[in-house]
């Protein structure tokens, strides 16, 4: 339904759109070697790494920025498998 002025009254509802399906490479984060620098959290364009360094694969697009910017090589990008 179209509202007058195209008002959207549901903040943040792009969450309905699971962009994880775009991914061809998947970041795997190793918490053991992580030095907690926050780079991956700060730079993720899709806000999908939380403070506990869990990656939300529902939205991760697999851009690889987190792995590229990790100073301790704690994130590996692995190819997605088709199912």
């Amino acid at each position: 339904m179209v509202n007058i002025g195209c008002v959207i009254k549901t903040p943040g509802n792009t969450k309905n759109n699971k962009t994880g399906s775009w991914r061809t490479f998947k970041p795997i984060l190793d918490k053991e070697s992580c030095i907690d620098c926050d780079n991956c959290i700060l730079f993720c364009p899709d806000s999908c790494i939380n403070k506990q360094h869990d990656i939300d694969y529902d939205y991760c697009k697999g851009c690889g920025i987190c792995a590229y910017e990790c100073p301790s090589d704690s994130i590996e990008m692995i190819q997605e498998e088709s199912d």
């Binding site: 179209v2 903040p11 792009t14 364009p45 899709d46």
Partner: protein, 289 residues
């Protein structure tokens, strides 16, 4: 260190390209501003990717207006809030480089002149990306775009980048800064200062774009870093007319290191690269870098 908030104010699920620098730009700005903020955005990638009707990625009040008038609409929002006595609300306007340095220049100039208490952030990806990488006044010399294509007849964009932050400084506003998404601490500090400024504040933010510049998505931050480390983009602020460099590269890298990884500059021959190097050297000398 930059504080990581418990809640991100730009939700995932938005349609930005994988590795999009514009979403990093906005996410970091909203981290700094907090929930008590109203955002305005001109038409462009940011608006298109964050508000595919009937969805929105914004967790704060947000208004999309036309391509040319985010300065005017943010003025109206600020005035309406002030008249209601709500002067503790941050008003932030975002515009792309096309929306800021070209078509939105007059409405922004008016807003700055009238002295509205707002922060304007130009997220500069150096072309009209949303409509297919057309050149803007902010496209740098030598870059190939769909309307300044390199080929037999041309080497690409033949004019230097318009110096927008200095045009804003010439308005005599209390706060002007340049920033980069690759230096989040510097950027976030500047957004906070801009918000605390009584009166208009302008931040010109360089934002690498994987699609328009032609580099692999994982190198978005690296491109921003190379721009700054080569002196191609200089980080400074002008507070009440006082100019200060906020970050100095330890040793300035050759500009070639920034140009080479990007498809938009790949056609440049040594002579043109040398010309760009001389231009960058002159700019750095002028600003004391």
């Amino acid at each position: 260190m930059v504080d990581i908030p418990d809640k991100n104010l730009l939700a995932p699920g938005h349609r930005g390209c994988a590795g999009c620098g514009a979403s990093i730009a906005v996410k970091l700005a909203l981290n700094a501003l907090g929930e008590n903020t109203v955002a305005v955005s001109a038409t462009g990638c940011l608006e298109v990717m964050t508000t595919p009707y009937p969805e929105t990625a914004w967790e704060i009040p947000f208004i999309h207006v036309a391509f040319e008038n985010s300065g005017a609409v943010a003025s109206g929002v600020e005035s309406a809030l002030r008249i209601q006595g709500k002067d503790d609300v941050n008003v932030v306007a975002f515009g792309g480089d096309g929306g800021t340095v070209d078509i939105g220049l007059q409405s922004l100039s008016g807003a700055m002149e009238r002295g509205h208490n707002m922060t304007y952030i130009c997220y500069d990806n150096e072309a009209y990306m949303n409509t297919g990488i057309q050149r803007s006044g902010a496209t740098p010399f030598g870059a190939s775009t769909t309307t300044s294509p390199s080929g037999v007849a041309s080497f690409g964009e033949d004019k230097p980048k318009k110096n927008m932050p200095m045009i804003m400084a010439a308005h005599g506003i209390p706060y002007v800064a340049t920033a980069s998404i690759a230096y989040p601490e510097d950027y976030v500090n500047k957004v906070k200062k801009a918000a605390e400024t009584k009166g208009p504040a302008y931040i010109h933010l360089q934002q690498p774009c994987t699609t328009g510049w032609g580099f692999p998505s994982e190198r978005t931050i690296e491109m921003g870093r190379l721009a700054v480390e080569t002196g191609s983009w200089i980080l400074y602020e002008i507070v009440d007319g006082k100019f200060e460099i906020t970050y100095r590269p330890e040793e300035r890298k050759p500009v070639k290191e920034y140009l080479a990884p990007q498809k938009r500059f790949r056609h440049l021959d040594d002579e043109l690269v040398e010309k760009i190097q001389k231009y960058v050297d002159a700019e750095c000398k002028e600003l004391g870098l």
